[in-house]
C-alpha cells in the first residue's frame, strides 16, 4: 500500500510554547568529559538575526549515549530555540567518524517563514584529514564548503547559519 505523505507546514512564530524543552540544549550533561558547546547565530537574507527559529541536532547512534532514559536527556538529540539575538547553543560530545564519513551533526532549522525545515550539517575544522575524505563534503563546491565547517571557540565551536544571501549556508535535500 502506498500512501501520500502529509505536507509540511511552518512552525509559525509561536513554536516555543510547543517545542522548547528545559534541557533541550543538553545532549550530554554539563560535567561530561569532552563536552563542547556548539553555538551560533541564525541570519536571514538581509543579514538580520532570526530570533524565532528552532535548531535541532542529531548525531546518530553512539555507544556512549546512555541518556534518553528516565531522568536523562535526549540520546544524541539536541534542541534549542534562538534567543532575541538569533543565537542558539547545544552542549554535546564530538561524534565519532561514522559510516565512512567525517564527524558531523545533522542540523534541522525550523522558523516562521520556513514552510519546510531546512537541513544542513556541521563539520569540525580539527578533523582535516577525515573531512578531506568525506563524501558529502566532496559533493559541495570548494567555495561553499566552508559554510559547513564550524570555527573553534574557547568552549567548543561556532556554527552560524545563513538562510539566504552571499554566504548562504549549504542546505541539503535529504
Amino acid at each position: 500500500m502506498r500512501l501520500g505523505e502529509t505536507p509540511s507546514q511552518t512552525v509559525g512564530p509561536y513554536l516555543t510554547i510547543g517545542l522548547a524543552w528545559d534541557e533541550g540544549a543538553y545532549v550530554v550533561p554539563e560535567d561530561t568529559a569532552g563536552a563542547v558547546w556548539i553555538s551560533g547565530t541564525v541570519y536571514d537574507g538581509a543579514g538580520d538575526t532570526v530570533s524565532d527559529a528552532l535548531i535541532e541536532t542529531w548525531q546518530g547512534p553512539d555507544v556512549h549515549w546512555t541518556r534518553g532514559v528516565p531522568g536523562g536527556g535526549f540520546a544524541g538529540f539536541g534542541r534549542c530555540p534562538t534567543d532575541g539575538g538569533g543565537r542558539y547553543r547545544i552542549l554535546t560530545r564530538l561524534p565519532e567518524p561514522v559510516d565512512g564519513q567525517a564527524p558531523h551533526l545533522d542540523v534541522s532549522v525550523f522558523a516562521r517563514g520556513l514552510l519546510d525545515r531546512v537541513v544542513t550539517r556541521v563539520y569540525f575544522p580539527d578533523h582535516e584529514l577525515a573531512n578531506g575524505g568525506d563524501p558529502v563534503l566532496a559533493s559541495v563546491s570548494d567555495e561553499r564548503r566552508r559554510t559547513l565547517l564550524a570555527r573553534q571557540t574557547p568552549d567548543g565551536y561556532a556554527f552560524d547559519i545563513r538562510l539566504q544571501g552571499a554566504d548562504e549556508t549549504v542546505f541539503f535535500d535529504v
Binding site: M1, T6, P7, H104
Partner: protein, 237 residues
C-alpha cells in the same frame, strides 16, 4: 557496503516550496541556492528515541492541565501515524501546540485583543501506541488575525511535530478543520501545490469516536515518508 534502506522523497507538489511569495515571511528566509542531494546514510536513517519518559499524565489532555476547565468547545483529536507504505509508526513522540478558543496563543509575541484563558496553555504531547495510534483531548482553536496582508486571518489549526523513526522522517505540519471558509484566503495552507496533498492536512469529523454529550471527535492521520527499498524486499520474497 551493505544495502541500507532509504526513505522515498515525496512526490512533487506534496511539500510547499520554500519560496512562496504569497507568504511574505518566506522572502528573506528561503535559501536561493539549490538544495544539494544528500544520500541517506547512517545519520539520516536513524533518529532519536523519544518516548514516555518525556511525558506527564495530563500531557495528552489539554483540558485537564489546570484546576479549572478552559473555555470553548472540547474536542477529541485522534488518528494514526503511518509511513508511506502504510506501516504504523509505533512508540514515537508527537508534540502539539495551538491557540485557545478565542484564537490567542499563550506566547509573549501574541498580543492581539482576544483574551488568554487562565486554564489553557495549548500545549500537548503523547507517544503513539504499537499500532501508531494517538489521541488528544483539547479545545477547538479559534482563527486569528496576522500581519501577512490586509485583514489576513489564519484558519483554525493545531501545530503537529512528529519524529518518526529516522531523521529523514521528521515532520512539522498543521492540522486543519473540515470545510473552513478561511482556506481560500490562507497563503500557508495554499502553499502546498497539490490539492490532494492539501486535503491530507484536513481532519475529518468522526461521529463514531465522538463522546455523546461530551466532545466531538476529529480524525487526523499523519503519513511520514515510506521506505524506498520496500519494492526490492518484496521481489526477494
Amino acid at each position: 557496503m551493505t544495502e541500507v534502506p532509504a526513505y522515498r522523497r515525496p512526490a512533487a507538489g506534496t511539500h510547499p516550496p520554500l519560496n512562496t511569495p504569497a507568504y511574505r515571511s518566506t522572502a528573506l528566509r528561503h535559501p536561493t541556492r539549490p538544495l544539494i542531494l544528500l544520500p541517506q546514510r547512517l545519520t539520516e536513517l536513524t533518529g532519536p528515541v523519544l518516548g514516555e519518559t518525556l511525558l506527564s499524565p495530563t500531557d495528552n489532555d489539554l483540558t485537564r492541565q489546570y484546576d479549572g476547565e478552559p473555555q470553548g468547545q472540547r474536542i477529541i483529536v485522534h488518528g494514526r501515524v503511518l509511513d508511506g507504505d502504510g506501516h504504523p509508526v509505533a512508540r514515537s513522540l508527537i508534540e502539539i501546540w495551538q491557540a485557545n478558543a478565542g484564537g490567542r496563543y499563550r506566547h509573549a509575541a501574541d498580543s492581539w485583543p482576544s483574551p488568554l484563558d487562565p486554564y489553557f496553555d495549548g500545549v500537548g504531547r503523547t507517544v503513539t501506541d504499537d499500532e501508531g495510534r494517538y489521541e488528544f483531548v483539547t479545545i477547538k482553536p479559534g482563527p486569528y488575525p496576522w500581519g501577512n496582508h490586509a485583514n489576513a486571518w489564519r484558519p483554525a489549526h493545531i501545530h503537529f511535530s512528529l519524529f518518526g523513526r529516522a531523521f529523514a522522517q521528521r515532520l512539522v505540519t498543521q492540522m486543519y478543520f473540515p470545510d473552513d471558509p478561511l482556506f481560500t484566503h490562507d497563503p500557508i495552507f495554499n502553499a502546498v501545490p497539490d490539492e490532494a496533498a492539501r486535503r491530507r492536512m484536513v481532519a475529518a469529523l468522526d461521529m463514531e469516536r465522538t463522546a455523546p454529550r461530551w466532545a466531538l471527535a476529529f480524525r487526523f492521520d499523519v503519513v511520514l515518508r515510506g521506505n524506498a527499498a520496500t519494492p526490492f524486499e518484496e521481489v526477494r520474497g
